[in-house]
């Protein structure tokens, strides 16, 4: 089979990755594996019957219809440990740390500019920054800090649902980069919080 034919065949068999992520998030590894197999078969049948575009629409329709039952299944059984462990812990720690760093860049720039101006009288940084810009809106700064904090915390905490209880365990070995990002978020978040407190009292 030529590579073009193979690529074309793969189009009809490779189901959207988003579905894999979603099922991995709400179901146990074993359940997700079985259901993803069923969905892959469904995807193959639909795309073979209706073509890639219409098949995909029908497929997504089926996925959306399955949301409520999946929620029931996940509530009945099980556990988010698969997602937390596989997506956040084992492979993507560095990616998460870099994403966190990107998310907190506006907060860092804001704080550095403000601190240099207040303590050392250096205005060049704050003058260079356009505080009217969208990236310095409260939504982006606080939202970025919050999102970066959450994803990095999830990479060091292993949370699972076990025997009716939510159990979390701390994994810090090899997570230095995530811990640094969390510390940076705490530091810059505190500065912004103190600034807001002082300004509003």
């Amino acid at each position: 089979m030529s590579s073009k034919e193979l690529k074309n065949k793969n189009k009809f068999t490779a189901q959207p990755k988003l579905v894999e992520k979603f099922l991995g998030f709400i179901l146990s590894r074993e359940d997700a594996e079985i259901l993803l197999g069923d969905f892959a078969e469904e995807f193959f049948t639909l795309t073979s019957k209706y073509g890639l575009f219409t098949g995909r629409i029908f497929y997504w329709f089926g996925v959306i219809k399955s949301m409520r039952p999946f929620m029931v299944l996940s509530k009945n059984k099980f556990t988010r440990s698969y997602f937390m462990y596989d997506i956040f812990q084992s492979k993507n720690d560095k990616k998460i740390a870099v994403t966190g760093l990107v998310l907190i860049v506006p907060a860092i720039l804001l704080c550095v500019g403000g601190l240099l101006q207040s303590f050392f009288g250096i205005t060049s940084v704050s003058n260079a920054l356009n505080y009217q810009s969208f990236i310095f809106s409260p939504f982006v700064i606080l939202g970025g800090l919050f999102a970066a904090f959450v994803i990095n915390m999830l990479s060091i905490f292993h949370i699972k649902y076990q025997d009716g209880d939510i159990v979390s365990t701390l994994h810090i070995k090899g997570k230095l980069i995530n811990l640094v990002i969390i510390s940076a978020i705490t530091f810059f978040g505190s500065i912004i919080f103190l600034y807001l407190l002082v300004e509003n009292i």
Binding site: T13, E33, L35, S66
Partner: protein, 108 residues
Amino acid sequence: MTILTRTEEMILLVVYQLDDNAYGITIRNSLEKFMGKKFSIGAIYIPLERLTKRGILKAYKVEPTGERGGRNKRLFKITSKGILALKETKELHDTMWNVISEDGLKPI
């Protein structure tokens, strides 16, 4: 006595008919064919899980196939408890319908 819901009864009958090929998709497709009603894949698994928990169905994993993207398949088989439950449900069903049919179905 184990009383089955109508959907559970249908699922068990389909699983029995499918024999060694009863898994999510085939069960869903057969139900759609017999009942003329659309089911989502997820909706099939709720009664299947419930029946498995009650010991009416037995689930086991088999090797992956190509069209499933190399993923495992969970097959279902009726247990002896399931067969008994089906028989009891049919008996109950027949008994209740026999009482009705003596008078005929008339609007009240």
